[in-house]
């Protein structure tokens, strides 16, 4: 298949990565894929392992630029910070859900809720950070990201005032910290 990085790199406005970097991202993708294969397969039959290797190679070779379009050295750090972000997020999600449950089961629900849309701007740059923030917003209290564009402008639909007021707040800080960006 015809491999071309340009279709993806272009959206970031950055030049295509160099040979080494692309090899590196290929390697990481390959390892990641192979690990996934093992988790999926659960068998250590040599034939299957071989097939797994070939498959991982195949996917990594043709689609490495999907997973890591821009290879930077900080991925490891980002990964660990992301992991440490997760428990907080889950906790937030659970809180959010209980809040939502309260809303749903409330007999006079329509008086409690007050749907509206808020807009705010962040300084987040990278796609992945924006996406993480957007998805976190969506998962947490009564808010859903409507749009988030490259400039870091978010439009959020909030179901009540309380949820709306919490934004962008701590979550933005945390996400920015994870991806090492300025707020």
């Amino acid at each position: 298949m015809i491999v071309s990085g340009n279709g993806f790199a272009k959206n970031d406005g950055k030049p295509t990565s160099t040979c080494f970097k692309s090899f590196f991202s290929f390697l990481i993708t390959f390892i990641l894929m192979f690990l996934t294969w093992i988790v999926l397969s659960g068998k250590f039959d040599p034939l299957l392992l071989w097939l797994g290797g070939i498959s991982s190679f195949f996917v990594a070779y043709y689609f490495y630029d999907l997973l890591f379009p821009v290879m930077e050295s900080g991925y490891g750090k980002v990964f660990f910070r992301f992991i440490s972000y997760m428990p907080w997020l889950i906790w937030e999600i659970i809180k959010a859900n209980f809040h939502l449950l309260y809303l749903t089961f409330h007999p006079r629900m329509k008086e409690l809720i007050d749907p509206h849309i808020i807009t705010f701007k962040t300084n987040l740059k990278s796609d992945i950070a924006i996406t993480t923030l957007a998805n976190s917003i969506t998962l947490t209290p009564g808010t859903i990201t409507v749009t988030a564009d490259n400039d870091g402008v978010f439009r959020v639909h909030a179901i009540d005032r309380e949820s709306a007021d919490a934004l962008p707040g701590t979550m933005l800080k945390k996400v920015a910290k994870v991806f090492g960006e300025e707020i």
């Binding site: 988790v39 999926l40 999600i93 449950l101 809303l103 809720i113 509206h116 849309i117």
Partner: protein
């Protein structure tokens, strides 16, 4: 162990119940998305956790991998569900669907 499993499952069921009730009760499309998108996600999380714990009943390496595989579902859902929710909201916005507001504000 079973109690834990039951607990998780019942919690998950409870979340799903919330989601279901929410879908029915909420007044408009946007607010319906809140319970549908979030409570279900958490419901899946809780239930898969419960089930994977149950799966580890007879502990073995394979069972562990299987549980990991189940968590792959959770991973997947956590990535995809908010995206799907977002996409639906976006679609609603683009479609020009007005969102429900309180009556007092309507004037």
């Amino acid at each position: 162990m079973d109690i834990l499993v039951i607990l998780f499952l019942v919690t998950g069921l409870f979340f799903f119940l919330g989601g279901a009730i929410g879908i029915i009760r909420m007044p408009d499309f946007y607010s319906r998305l809140h319970p549908a998108g979030k409570l279900d996600t958490l419901g899946i999380f809780a239930m898969v956790t419960g089930l994977s714990i149950y799966n580890l009943h007879h502990f073995s390496f394979e069972a562990l991998l299987l549980s990991a595989k189940m968590f792959l579902i959770v991973f997947f859902v956590f990535l995809s569900s908010p995206t799907a929710t977002h996409s639906i909201v976006d679609a609603g916005m683009r479609a020009g669907l007005r969102h429900w507001t309180k009556k007092k504000r309507k004037g």
